[in-house]
Amino acid sequence: MKKTHIIILIGIAALIGGLLMYSVDFSTYDSIDSAKKKEGKFVHIIAKLDLSQPIEYDPVKNPNFLAFHAIDSLGGKTKVVYYNSKPTDLEKSERIVMKGKMQKDHFECKDILLKCPSKYKDDKNQLEKNMQEQTTTEY
């Protein structure tokens, strides 16, 4: 066997090794209920802000403590605690991707990704809503 071939094989083995390394620490997308079953494991949850519950955030007291409630499309609910400053457009978000671990009575969130309607400018509904708001005041 040529040494080039050997090196290619080693390289491919390293690549597979690298990907396996990755597969060890990858996480999963879960619903709130399924996350509750794996308490303490790092998961991703896609949910919505539960507007029926208040958002707790007092930046003067502690800018790094945010607590709110989330509800997912299957109806699962949980309290969420986020030890960081409040994402500025949390209230406006349509969907929240939360990364973190489920604890006994709440979801300890490490990172929040918001999907906000404003960013979806190509969304037709949003454009129409905007058009409505802009023009109805003139009637």
Binding site: K3, T4, D25, S27, D30, H44, N62, K110, L113, D122
Partner: protein
């Protein structure tokens, strides 16, 4: 219904021109293909004439279309959806172009325009050559697919493409469109997304798309090589194009990084975001291909590998377009690209397949015919290690794209794999190994000779650079150690090795220019590029390894820290990294005392700047050694969302990077409470709600940081100390002034105690009247986060040096005239230096 005030002609003209250009690109593709399958004869010439003619029609067509889109945006013709969606009247002029390529259609058009311009240049330069017809076939087919995305026509029920000339009233449903004079009511468009209002939005997309467009040319040459059965000859003319593409694409990617660093608050220039990866991967493969092509030119080895890499570099450009434009990435990317609809997704998919499958089939079919040398490269030869380096780049690219494509597997196989807890580290721990291997290879292989390198020669030449690099790394380790402890000793060790490897590569390649090629700069392209790349790696390792958060909420007790440990990771590094600054209360942050002075409106609507005064005070000395003001800003969007832009103080050896992590949305300036006036002598003490205050002195015509009065003015300033119950002391300097307009008060504030202080006047019995107003309103404050990035300037210098190196190689390989080359090199270097280091 007849609508009033619409300008429909432009839309009709534009739509017609898109269709004409599309048809012309199809004719050009067929005619170039026909021409390429014939030997030199009259028929070939007539096919070529038709092909060139149609291609030029297409070029003129799409340039006019671009002009028309510019016109509808610039004139705010909101009857067109594109203008309504992307333009607005408050938009500054410089963002007009940016708002065109904000949209899907505009960015495809931009890409097509680069193809068109490259095509025209190509036809002029390779007029008589056999490469023209097959290469232009590929460009024309690419144009066919790109322009199809802009068609916006229906064939029976299937919508093909999305036109930039759609009318607002046809696309949106709103009652307003029942009125003929609806246009009068549409006051303004949506405008460019505020997150994109940045100077890089004007420059970065065109550069990146030029990189995409120029990657097509080496690919087209590879096709031409097979098609003309000139299996090896295509490499020589393709190398300058590959150099150009690698240069432009590389610079474009790092421009995106600089943009992220300047205006996104994730605190860095690279986050392994899918959109970033998607353009890095083709670059890595292209660079791999560039090296194997150089090997082929020098030795005749690695031709098949060159085909493979060059084909895949374009395939991955298209695949990344697929990833970022079809919405398949969904929740994993901060760059919120939107789902463009099934129709567009299918077309992008077919674009990818059309450039992947036929070419790979051709490659496999003719694989045996592609010449290869069966004698193996020697282990002491440069080409052997260059090939290994290319392989490492390629496998790294595969690793990155495999990880980035996880959402695709999830879609295809219905799995629910999500990114790991620490996404960046999951890449970094692999890439740091790559950096080590690549660093060592670029350092050592540069000193090897093609075919065979005598061991003594290599040792003699490489000894000195090795010594210098070891010394530098050793000194760094002692005097400026890397403090990235959070991932354990193993990773820290790997970082040190990578640091050595990248310094080694920088030093060895820089010295190569003097030691081996004796300062002949024309030959120095590769060395410069390598040195630049390695310098960039060095900068990345140092700036990320020693990145430091200097804002801590622990210093002013405003927060109530739950525990000293990060509640999430249970590590000792503190998550309380946000510092709340109360207006006008100096607060300690690392070596600085930071004061939030005031906020001010920008000239764009909804933009607010926060003026933060930084005074550098070394511990143990009283004086201020340095003062500067940073003005991070916050954009209030139309829907009341906020977006934060950092501001950075740049030194040669570090950047102080600060952004607002929380700000009050609107302050209540109305206040119902009134001043409580106390009459007092100097030295008297009086009480207020939360403590007492002392009138220290009264100064006539004060001259200090706050006031600058002359001798003949009539101003009195009171110097008052407030002592709160928790025995904190605050200073207030209210002032009263008599000028030609009468009595004039300059109040002072003690935000920490919610106090407004006024020098009300002097009483008849020569007592000083001090008014104190206590409010129960929310005090004014901002919460900031601040980082120090040490030596990040090396990253920007590195990319500029790398680009310059590519240009030097390009000049030599393309046989450009001396003065042309010098002009190009100087132009590019100066432009990049300005863009990366001085603009903004």
């Amino acid at each position: 219904m007849n609508f009033i005030g619409e300008n429909l002609f432009i839309g009709k003209l534009g739509h017609l021109l898109v269709i004409i250009s599309w048809v012309a690109s199809l004719i050009a593709a067929i005619a170039f293909f026909k021409a390429s399958s014939r030997k030199q004869d009259a028929e070939k010439d007539s096919w070529l004439a038709l092909a060139r003619g149609s291609f030029l029609v297409q070029v003129l067509g799409i340039i006019t279309v671009f002009g028309l889109i510019f016109y509808i945006c610039q004139q705010h013709l909101y009857e067109y959806l594109y203008a309504y969606k992307h333009a607005s009247k408050e938009l500054e002029f410089r963002y007009l172009l940016a708002c065109i390529w904000e949209g899907q259609e505009g960015s495809f058009l931009l890409w097509a325009i680069w193809h068109a311009l490259i095509g025209v240049f190509f036809m002029a330069r390779y007029k008589k050559q056999e490469w023209q017809a097959p290469v232009m076939t590929v460009i024309s087919v690419a144009q066919f697919f790109l322009l199809m995305m802009l068609l916006g026509i229906y064939i029976s029920d299937i919508k093909i493409g999305s036109s930039p000339f759609y009318l607002t009233r046809n696309e949106l449903d709103a009652p307003i469109f029942n009125r003929p004079e609806y246009l009068e009511f549409i006051k303004d468009g949506m405008g460019l997304n505020v997150l994109l209002r940045n100077y890089w939005m004007v420059i970065h997309p065109p550069v990146l798309f030029l990189g995409f467009a120029s990657t097509l040319i080496p690919y087209a040459f590879a096709y031409a090589g097979i098609r003309n059965r000139k299996f090896g000859e295509w490499v020589k003319p393709a190398i300058p194009w590959a150099l150009f593409a690698a240069c432009v694409l590389g610079v474009g990617i790092m421009m995106g990084g600089k943009w992220a660093y300047e205006s996104l608050s994730f605190g860095g220039y690279w986050a392994w975001d899918p959109v970033e990866n998607a353009s890095l991967v083709p670059w890595l493969i292209l660079v791999a291909g560039l090296h194997t092509m150089a090997v082929y030119q020098a030795t005749g080895h690695s031709l098949r590998a060159s085909y493979f890499f060059i084909i895949l570099s374009l395939v991955f450009i298209l695949y990344s377009t697929f990833l970022t434009r079809t919405g398949v990435l969904g929740d994993t990317s901060v760059h919120s690209f939107t789902e463009a609809g099934k129709a567009i997704n299918l077309m992008i998919g077919s674009f990818v397949l059309a450039f992947t499958l036929p070419m790979l089939v051709m490659f496999v079919k003719h694989y045996k015919e592609i010449p290869a040398i069966h004698k193996e490269e020697e282990s002491s030869s440069r080409e052997f290690w260059m090939f290994i380096g290319s392989l490492v780049f390629f496998l790294t690219a595969m690793f990155i794209i495999a990880k980035t494509s996880v959402p695709v597997y999830n879609k295809v196989f219905g799995t629910s794999i999500a990114p790991p807890e620490d996404v960046e580290f999951s890449y970094n721990k692999v890439v740091v190994m790559v950096a080590i291997v690549v660093g060592l290879l670029t350092a050592i292989a540069q000193y090897m000779k093609y075919k065979h390198t005598p061991g003594k020669y290599l040792l003699k030449k490489i000894a000195f650079p090795t010594l210098v690099a070891s010394l530098i790394t050793g000194l760094l380790a002692i005097f400026y150690p890397i403090t990235y402890y959070s991932k354990g000793a193993g990773f820290l060790g790997a970082l040190y090795v990578a640091l050595f490897a990248s310094i080694y590569a920088t030093v060895a390649n820089a010295m190569y220019i003097w030691l081996v090629i004796k300062g002949n700069l024309k030959q120095a392209g590769a060395s410069l590029t390598h040195a630049g790349f390695a310098l960039m790696l060095t900068g990345m390792i140092i700036s990320s390894g020693n990145k430091e958060v200097i804002s801590s909420s622990l210093v002013n007790g405003i927060t109530l820290p739950a525990s000293g440990k990060d509640p999430m990771t249970k590590q000792t590094d503190n998550p309380l990294e946000n510092l709340t600054l109360i207006r006008q209360v100096p607060t300690r942050m690392s070596n600085y005392e930071v004061t939030y002075l005031k906020d001010s409106a920008g000239h764009e609507k909804g933009r607010k700047f926060y003026k933060l005064q930084f005074d550098r005070k070394e511990k143990g000395s009283a004086g201020i050694s340095e003062s500067f003001v940073l003005q991070p800003d916050v954009y209030m969007m139309k829907d009341n969302n906020m977006s934060s832009n950092p501001d950075t103080k740049t030194y040669l050896n570090r950047d102080i990077f600060t952004y607002i992590s929380y700000a009050l949305k609107d302050k209540n300036v109305e206040d119902t409470s009134t001043f409580q006036v106390t009459e007092m002598h100097i030295g008297d003490t009086a009480f207020y709600g939360n403590g007492q205050f002392v009138l220290n002195k009264v100064v006539r015509n004060p001259r200090n940081q706050r006031f600058q009065y002359q001798e003949d003015d009539a101003a009195l300033m009171a110097d008052i100390t407030f002592i709160s119950r928790d025995s904190m002391r605050y200073h207030a300097l209210p002032l009263v002034e008599v000028d030609s307009f009468g009595l004039h008060h300059v109040d002072d504030t003690v935000y920490a105690q919610n106090l407004f202080v006024r020098f009300t006047g002097i009483s008849d019995d020569q007592k000083v009247r001090i008014g104190v107003r206590e409010t129960d309103q929310m005090i004014d404050f901002v919460t900031v986060k601040a980082y120090v990035f040490p030596y990040i300037v090396l990253v920007w210098f590195g990319i500029i040096l790398m680009a310059a190196g590519f240009i030097v190689s390009l000049i030599r390989r393309s046989g450009m005239r001396g003065w042309q080359g010098a002009l190009l090199l100087a132009g590019v270097t100066i432009a990049l230096l300005y863009m990366f280091l001085f603009a903004n």
